[in-house]
């Protein structure tokens, strides 16, 4: 049974939630936010879709295996650490710099963001995998 009100609102809110979570991750280095929080928010948003639409629809919209996300996230986090070795820095030593992007002005980019994206992916993957297995089990 799908609640029409919940489904409609979810359709509207879901993209905003995802965008907001990405925003949280992006600004995490300088303001409250970061990969962990953003990951939880994304996971919560996807769970909302699950609640509103009952699984099947979600698998159509987001056809992905959450287990893979964990692996990709870990690899990314580890990769940023290893990349530092290539440049002769210590493992996981991050760098940052300022770049001028037309239309945006001065933008600061840090390799730490790559690490944070890794954290984000792992958190999303872990949360959804555990919730997903439990909810399947319940049926």
């Amino acid at each position: 049974m799908i609640s029409l009100i919940l489904a409609t609102i979810t359709k509207l809110v879901f993209p905003l939630l995802i965008l907001f979570s990405l925003h949280l991750m992006w600004r995490g280095h300088n303001a409250p936010g970061g990969g962990f929080i953003a990951g939880l928010m994304t996971a919560a948003a996807i769970v909302l879709v699950h609640v509103a639409y009952r699984g099947k629809q979600v698998r159509e919209w987001l056809p992905m295996n959450y287990r893979v996300l964990i692996g990709v996230g870990l690899a990314l986090a580890l990769g940023t650490g290893l990349a530092a070795l290539v440049y002769g820095s210590a493992f996981l030593e991050h760098r940052f710099g300022h770049f001028h992007v037309p239309g945006f002005g001065e933008v600061e980019l840090a390799t730490a963001l790559g690490f944070d994206v890794g954290v984000y992916l792992v958190v999303v993957g872990v949360t959804l995998m555990v919730i997903g297995t439990l909810s399947q089990e319940g049926k």
């Binding site: 936010g33 970061g34 929080i37 939880l40 919560a44 650490g81 996981l92 991050h94 872990v126 089990e137």
Partner: protein, 770 residues
């Protein structure tokens, strides 16, 4: 770099074997032959440097040089000579195995294990650092486990593999402890330095502990009494594996280490008594020939004299040659007839004359018959035993026992030569072709195999004869540098075939004569031997101990992991309380009351605390699970409000999200539980729980207060505040700590998260399929 190559070549060759195996198919064995031969060639190219007394060395300050852990290799006379034997026999074994294995067997896997093992063994003998040696040592145990259990569909192979791994693995742990103690005593793990400071080690109060621990490693590995019992069971491996493991490697790793630590430990009474007595008991009880020969070598190292070092080192090389040859001959017989049963195997010389001759040469060398290499080293052994007769009242026992042990060796060697090959052939014997391991041939009579299997045996037999007739060559090229390294200083000696009519020669003659008599009476002897070999029931102890261990761990697991959440909570909380209590007990004062407390937003905090307490009171009385969970969730939201009040927006945000997700998780779990209220524990348990909760809460509160009262000279928070912006380019200190300053921690945490999720996934899915 050359020394590294010796280890790296077989290792790399092994690692590509699985892929190359698909490409080359049956021919993959030639790849292994080439790799071993390359390692051998590389070793030969080092000859000049070794002989010049400048051992080629290589080292890297990794992984932890400050802790004595560095990877260092060197090829002194001892390591180099041993490596030559390992790589040389390794090459022959690969060649032999290429022809021995049947087409149905996973060939690439076999050579993968074999090359891995060879690489690890070369690592053991070329290590200049004890830590590195121990690591390679354990690798040989692991690789030998795979090799012994190669026919893993057979119960006996699995049993043998586990036994070898357990016994040598336990010995390996003792060795680790010995090395650690030695490091603590001297501050070094470098073998050369330890040798130079042998006096210091021997004078140290821990000497006996170090000695015993190291020797436990040695004795388990080289199958000395009472740890010999893994060896017979390991024979269930494919014959080329047994040939490699029990002639030149594995068991010889123990003997090698004995030679390695010889200059560090020798001269102490404890060394002599432990090593020599264990060796002698092994030699006498080991009716299995490899064990007995290993006992002989061990006895000699225990004596710790120049002559003994020479005899032992010499015998190691001789034993490697004739024992590998013998094993390969047994393999040929097994391969051709399909059985290893001695009662069936008779008079095979008619059908396989070349094999018979080669087998006889190796067996007679093992028996110590003149003009073969085994005779020379056994002669030296007798000489050493006789030399010490005058030292004490019962010292005459040494040569007597030595002769007794050698007679046994002579008898079973004769059994192979006469019994298997040159006795009368039973014309009606039916060979169980295809029995055993599925590599029997379908054709009629057993016959000599092709050169691929005979060649290696022929070469080994040729070595036995050459060394027996002309020991000077081996002496000059290999023995001189090896013995010098074992002794710790250059040694003057000359191995000769003819010494004149000396006592050792008489003892040799006595051995042969007594051996012949005993062989003639072998039927009566067999029964006695069986009783000797199994009478002390070491296997019963092993099996009993193993079963007991499994019973014990089962009991422990069932007691601790009984599935009741209450038990787990009690375990965790009591452990934490104990740990905190122990640590606290050592502090002089708590420091809690002396501190001046500043409490930002105290009023709000107290208010939120009261609210939380009120909600918890409601939860505790709630009978409906669903309501309880949702009400409990509001505690989390209040905590995040507390974070906000205390200006920690990141924490507040995290707490908020975690709380939401946790409630969803909770609800998912709840739908699997019965709707009715959970049964309440008895009053007594609830009171105990309440008491524990109060104590734990109180301790935690005081702990937090104490920690924040402990003023560090410069709070770490200041560092983070100052450096976050300039050094990491971020204004959000919490995030900068997470991804940058403490990035390694975070990496560990997300790894744990991932593993936990996989664990949960596996647990739930597995339960479902059951």
């Amino acid at each position: 770099m050359n020394v590294v190559g010796v280890i790296v070549i077989p290792l790399l060759a092994a690692l590509v074997t699985p892929w190359l195996g698909r490409l080359l198919g049956r021919a993959i064995g030639w790849w292994a032959v080439a790799a071993s031969a390359a390692a051998f060639g590389l070793l030969v190219s080092l000859t000049g440097a070794v002989h010049a007394g400048a051992p080629p060395a290589w080292s890297v300050d990794w992984p932890a040089p400050d802790w004595g852990m560095r990877l260092a290799l060197y090829a002194d006379g001892w390591g180099w000579g041993f490596a030559l034997v390992v790589a040389g026999i390794g090459t022959l074994i690969c060649l032999y195995a290429q022809h021995y294995l049947s087409d149905e067997e996973p060939r690439a896997r076999f050579f993968l294990y074999l090359l891995l093992f060879e690489s690890a063994m070369l690592g053991v003998v070329l290590s200049a650092n004890l830590v590195g040696l121990v690591i390679f040592w354990e690798l040989t145990s692991a690789a030998s486990f795979l090799l012994i259990g190669f026919w893993h569909t057979q119960e006996r192979a699995r049993y043998g593999a586990y036994k070898a791994l357990l016994i040598t693995g336990l010995g390996g742990l003792a060795l680790v402890a010995g090395v650690v103690l030695m490091y603590l005593a001297t501050g070094t793990t470098d073998i050369r330095e330890l040798t130079a400071r042998a006096g210091e080690v021997q004078a140290h109060p821990w000497f006996v502990a170090i000695l015993v621990l190291v020797l436990l490693g040695v004795f388990t590995k080289s199958a000395q009494f009472p740890f010999h019992l893994w060896l017979p069971d390991a024979m269930t491996a494919p014959t080329p594996v047994s040939a490699f493991l029990h002639s030149a490697t594995m068991v010889k790793a123990g003997v090698f280490l004995l030679g390695r630590v010889h200059p560090i430990f020798r001269g102490r009474e404890e060394w002599f008594w432990i090593v020599s007595c264990v060796g002698m008991v092994t030699m006498l009880l080991g009716a299995y020939s490899t064990i007995s020969q290993l006992g002989l070598i061990t006895v000699l190292y225990g004596f710790g004299t120049e002559l003994a070092a020479l005899a032992a080192t010499f015998h190691i090389f001789n034993h490697a040659a004739f024992k590998a040859g013998l094993f390969l001959v047994v393999g040929i017989v097994d391969h051709e007839t399909g059985t290893r049963d001695k009662r069936l195997l008779k008079g095979l010389a008619k059908q396989m004359p070349v094999t018979a001759v080669l087998g006889a040469v190796c067996a007679l060398a093992s028996a110590g018959v003149p003009l073969l290499n085994g005779f020379l080293s056994k002669e030296l052994f007798y000489e050493e035993m006789v030399t010490h007769v005058g030292r004490g009242p019962v010292w005459w026992l040494w040569p007597v026992l030595a002769v007794a042990g050698s007679i046994f060796t002579f008898v079973y060697s004769l059994e192979i030569v006469h019994g298997v090959f040159y006795s009368k052939l039973d014309p009606h014997v039916e060979w169980p072709h295809g029995a055993g391991h599925g590599h029997g041939h379908a054709h009629g009579k057993p016959h000599d195999p092709g050169w691929g299997m005979l060649g290696p045996v022929g070469l080994l037999a040729a070595v036995c004869v050459t060394v027996g007739l002309w020991p000077g060559g081996l002496e000059k090229w290999i023995l001189q540098p090896a013995v010098a390294a074992v002794w710790g200083a250059p040694v003057e000696f000359h191995v000769a075939i003819w010494h004149g009519f000396t006592t050792p020669l008489m003892l040799s003659a006595l051995t042969v004569a007594a051996g012949l008599v005993m062989y003639a009476q072998r039927h009566r002897l067999g029964a006695v031997q069986d009783r000797l070999a199994w009478g002390f029931g070491a296997n019963t102890i092993y099996d009993g101990a193993l079963a007991g261990l499994i019973r014990g761990t089962t009991w422990l697991t069932n007691t601790l992991q009984n599935g009741r959440l209450r038990t787990y909570f009690w375990c965790v909380i009591v452990t934490v309380l104990g740990g905190v209590g122990l640590t606290w007990g050592r502090q002089e004062r708590l420091g809690v009351w002396a501190a001046e407390w500043t409490a930002p937003a105290a009023a709000e905090a107290v208010l939120i605390g009261l609210l939380i307490a009120a909600i918890l009171a409601v939860v505790a009385r709630q009978q409906d699970r669903l309501v309880a969970v949702i009400v409990l969730g509001s505690v989390g939201f209040l905590v995040s409000a507390l974070y906000l009040v205390l200006s920690a927006p990141d924490l507040a945000l995290t707490q908020l999200l975690i709380e939401s997700v946790t409630i969803i998780l909770f609800l998912l779990v709840l739908q699997r539980l019965p709707k009715s209220a959970p049964p309440t524990s008895p009053r007594r348990e609830r009171l105990a729980d309440a008491a524990l909760a109060v104590v734990f809460g109180g301790v935690m509160t005081v702990l937090v207060l104490a920690v924040s009262a402990a003023n560090a000279a410069r709070p770490v928070a200041e560092f983070f505040t100052e450096s976050s912006r300039p050094r990491a380019g971020g204004r959000n200190i919490v995030n900068v700590i997470l991804v940058d300053f403490r990035g390694f921690d975070t990496l560990g945490e997300i790894t744990v998260l991932g593993i936990a999720a996989l664990g949960a996934f596996a647990l739930i899915k597995l339960r479902r399929t059951r």
